[in-house]
Symmetry: none
C-alpha cells in the first residue's frame, strides 16, 4: 500500500526531487521511512500532495501552502480570495505592459517612417529653397536625376537604400573623434562616394565636394546627420574635402 518516491512521482506527475524538496522544507513528509532512509508515502500523503499541487497551480508559494494545509485556523477561503486579488493585480500589470508594448511598437514604426522621410528629405534637393543653389553648384541634371531616382523606387527599395545609408553614418559615428584625414574616416567617405555613384549617378569630384558644402548649410541635412553623433556633419564635410583633394 505504501509507495516509494518513484511511484508517487509517476503517479502524481512530479519529480522525485520535488518530493525530497517538500520533505526537506517540511511541506510533505512521508508517513514513514525505512531503516535505510527510503521514503514511504501513504495514501493520505498522496491526498495531501494533491492539495499542495492544487494550491501551487493557483500560484501560491510553498510557504503559504504549508500554512494553508496544516493550520486549521488559516482560512482557506480567505487565502483564496486574497490570491484572487493578487492575480487580478498581476493581470492588470500585464495588461499595462501589453499596452505599453503596443504603443512602443507603433511609435517605433512611426519613427521609422519619420526618419525615413526625413532622411530622404535630406537627400531630396528639389525642395524650393535649395533648388536654385543646387542647380548653380551642380548643374541642372544631377539634381533632377537624383530626385527622379528616389521617387521611382519602391518602398522596399527605399528601405534597403535607407539601411545602407544608415550603416554608413553609424560607422562614421564610431570615428567621431578621429581627424578628417584619418584612414578610417577616409575609407568611410569612399564608401559614401561609391554609394552615391551606385545608386544615383556618377558624381564628379567637384560635384561631390559641392555636396559636402551643401550638407553644412542645409539644416534639414545637418539635423538628420547630427542624430548619429554631434559634430558629424562638420567631420563629414571636411573629410569629403580631404577625399577630393587626395584624388586629384
Amino acid at each position: 500500500m505504501v509507495k516509494r518516491v518513484r511511484e508517487v512521482a509517476d503517479l502524481i506527475g512530479v519529480s522525485t526531487r520535488t518530493l525530497r524538496h517538500y520533505d526537506q522544507i517540511g511541506l510533505l513528509s512521508p508517513k514513514e521511512t525505512t531503516s535505510a532512509g527510503y521514503r514511504l508515502y501513504s495514501e493520505e500523503n498522496l491526498k495531501t500532495l494533491q492539495q499542495i499541487l492544487f494550491f501551487k497551480e493557483l500560484g501560491f508559494p510553498l510557504k503559504e501552502i504549508k500554512k494553508i494545509i496544516y493550520s486549521p485556523s488559516f482560512n482557506q477561503r480567505e487565502a483564496l480570495l486574497l490570491q484572487r486579488k493578487m492575480l487580478i493585480e498581476k493581470r492588470n500589470n500585464i495588461d499595462k505592459m501589453i499596452k505599453t508594448i503596443d504603443k512602443t511598437i507603433k511609435h517605433m514604426l512611426g519613427e521609422i517612417e519619420m526618419t525615413n522621410e526625413e532622411k530622404f528629405e535630406g537627400i531630396n534637393f528639389s525642395h524650393k529653397a535649395y533648388e536654385q543653389e543646387a542647380r548653380i553648384r551642380w548643374g541642372n541634371q544631377s539634381v533632377e536625376h537624383l530626385n527622379a531616382k528616389i521617387k521611382s523606387m519602391s518602398k522596399e527599395e527605399q528601405k534597403s537604400l535607407s539601411k545602407r545609408w544608415e550603416t554608413i553614418f553609424n560607422k562614421l559615428a564610431l570615428f567621431r573623434d578621429y581627424s578628417a584625414e584619418s584612414q578610417d574616416v577616409q575609407a568611410i567617405i569612399k564608401e559614401w562616394y561609391d554609394f552615391l555613384n551606385e545608386n544615383f549617378k556618377n558624381y564628379s569630384l567637384d560635384e561631390f565636394y559641392g555636396l559636402g558644402l551643401l550638407y553644412m548649410e542645409d539644416e534639414r541635412f545637418t539635423k538628420n546627420i547630427e542624430q548619429y553623433g554631434a559634430g558629424l556633419t562638420r567631420l563629414m564635410s571636411e573629410a569629403m574635402k580631404v577625399f577630393v583633394d587626395n584624388q586629384k
Copy 2:
C-alpha cells in the same frame, strides 16, 4: 558632468546595488572608473540605463535586455512582439487560475451548506427510523422540542449554532487520546451539556446519558462526529457516561 553611483541611483531611482549588479553582469558598465575603483557614469550611460529600465518594466529578464539593448532596432521590435506573446500567455494562465479559484470557492460554499445540513441531520432525530427508539429512551416531548427549535431558527441562527457545535467538537478532537475520565475531556462534556441545555431544553442527566448511547448507534451521527477525529464518538459516549455518574 560624470556622476557616481549614489547620484545616478537617486536620479534614476534604482539602488546602488543594482548599478553594481548591472556592471557585474556586463549590462551597464560605467564609462570610466577612477584609479580607486569608483564608477563614473556618463550622460550616455544614463540614457542606456533608462532603456534598460524600460525593458525591465515590460518584464524582460536582464539577459534578454542585454541582447536587446546592444542590438539594432529591428531586433527590438521582434523582441517586443515575442514578449507580447508571452505576456498574453501569462494573462491567459492567470485568467484560468482566477476561474479555478472562483469555482473552488463556490464549491466550498456548497460544501459548507452540505455539511451544515448533515450536521443538523445528525441532531435531528425526527427521522423515521430512529423516531421510535428516541421516543422510548427520552420520552416524547424532548425530541419534538428539539426539532421544532431547529426548524424555527433563522439561517443566521443556525449558522451560529453550527459554529459553537463545531468548536466543541474541535476541542474534543484535541484530547482524542485522553481518557474519558480526564479533567480536560470532562470539561468539554460539561460544555456540551450546557450547550444542549441552553439551546434546546433542560435534559435530565438520564436523558443526557441516553443521548450518548444513541450517538453510538446512529450512523448519521457517528459519521458526522468521526470527521473531527477517529474514535471520537466512543470517547464522547464514554465521557458522557462518566459525566453523568459524577453528577449523581
